[in-house]
Symmetry: C2
Subunit: 339 residues, 2 copies
């Protein structure tokens, strides 16, 4: 049986109003009464009706977190970090999955709103700038991980061009000259930015930028990496790449798998670098070099921004936070075994 305010008041020997003041955190309660109420709250196990309380305050207490798919390790891990950060700021977190499809991302944006949640943290894969018009006016939204140009919203991401350039430069520094990329996808802004960074590094090094070396990926799962690598090896027989930059770690794991199964040595015949800084990359055989965004920083920045936006409720001064990244180099590119 759930205890009511009245039960607590009777046990504490104070008025319902006094209990209510303590529960709602109001300052002006006599210390003696506060102690009595707190003891009675503990004894009865009373829990305030959060839903009703938030309703009175014009808030729901809920945030939505919109991600492509929790089954993708990067998003599972990032969602875990965002939820942890949000809960320590007092939020409850609702999750929606879009599978990275623009229609479903649009649906999530359009259906969000003050009746449901106080704000949303959205990690889009396929949205374009004009889609932001779908957000109900004044509704707090923080975007994760996408290009910000034209998006008039708070955003947390990393510099994808610089990160892809660093990964490609690492391969160039190792003396590789036929460097492929896996993960081209015209519908994904992230992929386009990483393609741009890859091309910049090649151009700066005076290496040719060959369309033949850019392999598309419909989605970014391990299986897509296998297929993309198989395509590169089949198409470029005799002139195969000596290195490959993959747009995420799952693609890199698949590409590595296919290269080894095809009898190639990694990194001697072909070096492989991924993107995400996943734990899986650390323990693959050989361990994978990878670009590691600071996911903890992304999560805490996103929660800070959404909390500030919910408190302010204005449409001004959008922030664009660039979280740091590092390139973790391992045996799949350096050839150096570490223990």
């Amino acid at each position: 049986m759930t205890a009511t305010l009245k039960d607590v008041a009777e046990l504490a020997g104070v008025s319902v109003k006094t209990v209510s003041n303590v529960v709602n955190g109001y300052a002006f309660v006599r210390a003696e009464n506060r102690l009595k109420v707190e003891a009675a709250l503990a004894q009865t196990g009373y829990r305030p009706n959060i839903g009703a309380r938030n309703l009175r305050r014009g808030r729901t207490g809920f945030l939505a977190l919109v991600v492509p798919d929790l089954g993708i390790p990067y998003f599972g891990e990032l969602a875990g970090l965002v939820i942890t950060a949000a809960q320590s700021s007092g939020w409850n977190v609702l999750i929606e999955q879009t599978q990275g499809e623009r229609d479903r991302e649009l649906e999530s944006l359009g259906s969000l709103g003050p009746h449901f949640v106080d704000g949303a943290i959205v990690s889009p894969e396929a949205l374009v700038a004009e889609d932001v018009g779908q957000v109900p006016a004044g509704f707090p939204v923080v975007l994760l991980g996408e290009q910000t140009a034209g998006f008039d919203l708070d955003r947390v991401g990393i510099d994808n061009v610089a990160a892809a350039r660093a990964a490609t430069q690492h391969l160039i520094d190792l003396g590789r000259t036929r460097i492929a990329m896996i993960g081209d996808n015209p519908r994904r802004a992230t992929a386009q930015l990483r393609l741009q960074g890859y091309r910049q590094a090649l151009t700066e090094a005076g290496l040719p930028v060959l369309d033949d070396l850019v392999a598309p990926a419909d989605s970014f799962h391990r299986r897509d990496g296998v297929l993309a690598m198989r395509g590169l090896l089949d198409r470029l027989d005799g002139e195969r790449p000596d290195a490959v930059f993959c747009c995420n770690d799952l693609l890199a794991v698949g590409a590595l798998h296919e290269a080894v199964v095809s009898g190639l040595r990694v990194p001697e015949d072909i070096a492989v670098v991924g993107f995400d800084g996943s734990d899986e990359a650390r323990y693959s055989l050989p361990p994978l070099s990878t670009v590691a965004p600071d996911k903890g920083a992304i999560a805490t920045s996103a929660v800070r921004l959404i909390s500030e936006r919910v408190s302010r409720r204005d449409g001004a001064g959008y922030e664009d936070v660039q979280a740091p990244f590092v390139l973790e180099t391992r045996q799949s590119t350096t050839g150096i075994t570490e223990r």
Copy 2:
């Protein structure tokens, strides 16, 4: 600007009451008025205040999903499937993470309740039967993946003893005689059940059950698998195991990594089998054999059970659903390369 019932009523030329009847799905609305209202609803983009509506019905419309950590691929994937299934049954899903710690699992159970959510799907790691007393009386809870003995609640799981026995039997069938297990943990019921299945298979085959061959794991991450395998190899130098059954795929990936880095051939020197049926197992080098629970069946059964329990609101007739599992055999045990 969010449209109100009044806006919709004015546009449709009907009363607010009629709009309300349509929005709330009441039957007795004239077809002509229903059409007018539906057109006006579409035109204004009106969205009902779900929070308030559920409050009137005595429901919140929210389910809680309590898992150890979304960053663990098994739980990320399972959570993704549960959310998808729940949303197609009209639920919104809140997520809480416990890191598999009994205190936090207890806290989640204790803080759940009708003010917040209508029911909860909970995947505990460390709860014991008496902890179920923490669930507010009559509050709908479905447990995932744990032993049901003494838990007077609906449950969806697999037969962990039979599954571990099948994995161990597979190693015995391959002629292995010094079969180790990685993942013993007295606080985790799953680990205890899998240990039991491992022992049963050895005993049935007339093989000795040696405590030296059972390696503990504090948690079930890749790093723990590395440490456990290193411990087995150091401790049993000269008499090392010729096979190892790991309590999840992350432990198996770590164990495989450490075995290969230590110069062992897999499976010639040591065969490795995991548990979870993860995609990661399929693409590791060599690919890992693994016990694959039917995660889709677990997710849909859990959502069906919680929906039924919320509708009935009685404490009778608890169901214990056993989802199927299969043993996926791959190169890490069979030595057979597949493409």
